[in-house]
Subunit: 253 residues, 2 copies
Amino acid sequence: MNPTACILVIGNEILSGRTQDVNVQYIARRLAEMGISLREVRIIPDIRPVIVNVVTETRAAYDHVFTTGGIGPTHDDITSSCVAEAFGVPWAPHPETFQLLEKHFAPGEFNAARQRMATLPVGATPIRNPVSIAPGFTMGNVHVMAGVPRIMRAMFEEIAPTLRCGRPVTSRSWHAFGLYEGGLAEKLEKIQDRHPDVDIGSYPFHDHDGHGGVALVSKGLDADEVAQVAQDIRQMIEKLGFTPIEGEPAHKA
Amino acid sequence: MNPTACILVIGNEILSGRTQDVNVQYIARRLAEMGISLREVRIIPDIRPVIVNVVTETRAAYDHVFTTGGIGPTHDDITSSCVAEAFGVPWAPHPETFQLLEKHFAPGEFNAARQRMATLPVGATPIRNPVSIAPGFTMGNVHVMAGVPRIMRAMFEEIAPTLRCGRPVTSRSWHAFGLYEGGLAEKLEKIQDRHPDVDIGSYPFHDHDGHGGVALVSKGLDADEVAQVAQDIRQMIEKLGFTPIEGEPAHKA
């Protein structure tokens, strides 16, 4: 079975609606490519007992836990010390990271706040940050990354080669204009019933001109079976009198 | 104390990275305006026992639970029957909704799949859908809405006037170019320590020209105290030798 994963998005700015998260989609796509099954995402606030409890719960439940956010130098950046607490280890200056940051900042600039970014759970392995130097880290199966998207992506790609992967998910899509879910649901369910190991999703779409239809996405670990399902879906669309178009529509919403 | 809320985003298409969620930010902003405290968001797959368990857990933990996704006519739309199961009530045709949809569709078009959209947990109150007719519903403190953003927004605005609200959150922001978190963290923490009831967030930003800085956001229920904190932050920025600009930066990432 493929390894499982969970993402924890940590930050009041997402829960207040200030910031639109874009990290989940990036990580989700990359995990699918790597054959790691993303089972759950939780968006939680910068509150110590909440973070500690959710890390404790999810690190036991999933093979990989990815966190984004809360590792900067300010008072609201508490992810790192919470992960230490969740693992029951001290949160202490990490010598190599301390030296790295000391060298990076101008003399006198490596103040107490910035020294917090060199403070890691004891036993953690830093994740290199090619953008702004201060690292993320991996502690056990928990991968702690920045919230700023371009830094998060760089950190994810640093650890990606080290992750235990599974069989990648194969995906095939068809869409058709003018076709609606209510008109195909019964036929689609029969295809789904014949192929319980393929995950068939049905998604209405509308383009900016008001034209709409439905996209039908088949996903699974067995590429041959996914191809068979996609073939059945193409034929179903034709039998219903519509024109199947391979791939996803340009506008998904 | 303000009422609390949780959002459940239900759908494999978010966890696979196919679809970028935009509903959370909309609901989050509206809840903040209404004085409802969004405590958690969970993104979960279209898997019956997962949905049933998470609905059961969150409806006990929060005053309001909002769900998005999984209420269409296809086999992967299982939110409605899962909510029935979570409440321990039958999932049965809702007479008024049945009539409404029967009248909406052309003769012969109101097939078994579309009849599923008129099937609700017994005891649920439909949420009007002015976009595509098939309703959401409220069952107890659980508000079940569509995943398609424009339908979700219409449904949310239908129920918004009926929700128990609290004191709205007041927010004040300043930002400054050239100022970085590491240079202000210690001073900012002192302001935070003097005002524990105000939530001060610090967010780095970069515009498309590569100019960057930091945005400092103060939020709280006491508008006077939030104004005082915002004033302290403005003075702090000036004392550090930078130019405070009121509001949020144009580019937040």
